[in-house]
């Protein structure tokens, strides 16, 4: 795979060491209604382009990493 993910603990690593954790979303607040929670849980922006995502380094340090990845070119934008 032609891209590496920059883990703050382990450095630039192969993405297959990570587990994809979904796109970054804003969770509804404590007073939110059921519809807001359904939107949050099931519906995705699913960008074709740069997208902020969570990746879990399960074969490394076990930390969650926030990554800005272009889903078309797989280019990682450094934070």
């Amino acid at each position: 795979m032609a891209f590496l993910i920059n883990c703050p603990n382990c450095g630039r690593r192969n993405p297959y060491e990570f587990r994809f954790g979904g796109e970054c979303k804003q969770a509804p607040g404590p007073g939110a209604d059921a519809k807001a929670w359904c939107d949050y849980l099931y519906f995705n922006e699913n960008m074709s382009g740069p997208q902020d995502e969570w990746w879990y380094h399960n074969m490394g340090c076990g930390d969650w990493v926030k990554v800005r990845r272009n889903t078309v070119t797989h280019e990682i934008t450094e934070e």
Binding site: M1, A2, P15, Y16, R19, F20, A34, K35, C38, D39, Y42, F43, N44, E45, N46, M47, S48, T71, V72, T73, H74
Partner: protein, 395 residues
């Protein structure tokens, strides 16, 4: 002697239509065909930004089956599978339908129990399913290793005799040719870039060749539905994930059935040409890039070689991938979109090809009548808000 006459003519879109179908893949073409043939709608355009069948329609592994789990969806898949039989004569085009039978291997007692429960549900829906012992599987597929040698040995299997393969390119051309003959305008190189709406009602589409007006627009864009969502300013419950497929050298016939392992995520079949098609797992992260990777190829081959050790000398010669729009509940989204006149046929994940005939039939019925047909009533977008998600498991 080969004919030099063009099989079908592509058109430039007119200014207005009765129905506009966005997406010239199998679902879009099938919907156009059923609309033109059974609902008497004459002015239909299929808008495709690349070429006919360029997306998932020509990239799938040609498998047709109805051994899903959720009772809401089984009648739909059963009908779709049965519809393939009559399509070759209906479309006057050989779709190379080959109902060779599908073997799904189980590797543990728990999985076998799960398969038995699933089989009972399928039998209730009238789908033919048998449970087989490893010895029976060995008799059917002599090259399969059912001994204790693999890390997860074969302990049984589910046999779905009606499952099989249909040539996907033949299906694309069959629907395209027949739809064109019925007067559907197939417009390639026409990219939809937006929608025209008045209030909550759709009035047409914006394209790279100008606006086209229509009060009924149908979205059947396969793996690209989130691009449509952004044009509409909404979100769909999907993630776009590529699925990779490989083919091998051509060999003498040795494998009569479609063999799959749902647990270990591999399946293989020998095509009529003689090469094996290998595949089975979605990529581990979403992407809009149809790449192929060494990781996927090596993992899939390592899995399959455990059960077919004789294939060790066979080369993988070609690989490709297609984009799958997957929902969390492994079921599609069909019917109303929330905007009047705009209907959806999206989120077909990796089970869109086998559903093509029924999907075209019921999408056409929905567009023509405005009423949600009984067999697809569980596929509406509102199920995500009404706690009515389809209880499907991945297979």
């Amino acid at each position: 002697m080969a004919t030099t006459q063009k099989v079908l003519q592509y058109k430039q879109p007119q200014k207005s239509y009765d129905v506009i179908i966005v997406g010239g893949g199998l679902h879009g073409l099938a919907t156009a065909y059923y609309l033109a043939r059974y609902h008497g709608i004459k002015r239909i355009a299929v808008l495709e930004r690349r070429y006919i069948g360029s997306g998932g329609s020509g990239r799938n592994t040609e498998m047709v089956r109805s051994n899903k789990r959720a009772h809401e969806t089984l009648p739909f898949y059963k009908e779709s599978l049965a519809m393939w039989d009559g399509l070759s004569s209906e479309l006057e085009w050989n779709l190379m339908v080959q109902k060779k039978g599908l073997l799904a291997l189980a590797h543990s007692d728990g999985e076998l129990t799960s398969m038995r429960m699933q089989s009972d549900g399928q039998r209730m829906a009238g789908i033919k399913i048998d449970m087989l012992s490893p010895a029976e599987v060995k008799k059917m597929v002599p090259s399969l290793d059912v001994s204790d040698k693999p890390a997860l040995p074969v302990v049984g299997a589910q046999f779905h005799p009606e499952g099989g393969t249909v040539h996907h390119d033949a299906a694309v051309w069959g629907f395209a040719k027949t739809a064109a003959r019925l007067g559907v305008d197939l417009c390639t190189g026409v990219e939809v870039v937006g929608f025209n709406t008045v209030g909550e009602k759709v009035t047409g589409v914006k394209t790279n060749v100008g606006d086209i007006s229509s009060d009924r627009v149908h979205v059947a864009v396969g793996g690209y539905s989130s691009e449509i969502a952004r044009m509409l300013g909404v979100k769909f419950p999907v993630s776009t994930i590529p699925m990779q497929v490989m083919t091998t050298d051509v060999m003498a016939p040795f494998l009569d059935y479609y063999v799959a392992s749902p647990r270990m995520h591999w399946y293989t079949q020998q095509t009529l040409k003689g090469d094996l098609i290998l595949g089975g797992q979605l990529d581990p992260f979403p992407s809009w890039n149809s790449y192929t990777t060494w990781e996927e190829c090596s993992e899939r081959v390592a899995m399959i070689l455990q059960y077919f050790p004789d294939l060790a000398h066979v080369r993988v010669v070609r690989s490709w991938s297609g984009l799958c729009d997957c929902t969390g509940d492994s079921a599609p989204v069909m019917g109303p979109s929330g905007i009047d006149g705009l209907s959806l046929d999206i989120a077909w994940g990796y089970y869109g090809f086998k559903s093509t005939p029924a999907c075209g039939k019921y999408s056409a019925e929905y567009i023509a009548t405005g009423l949600m047909p009984e067999k697809i009533k569980y596929f509406g977008l509102d199920r995500f808000y009404n706690r009515q998600r389809v209880r499907e498991v991945i297979l």
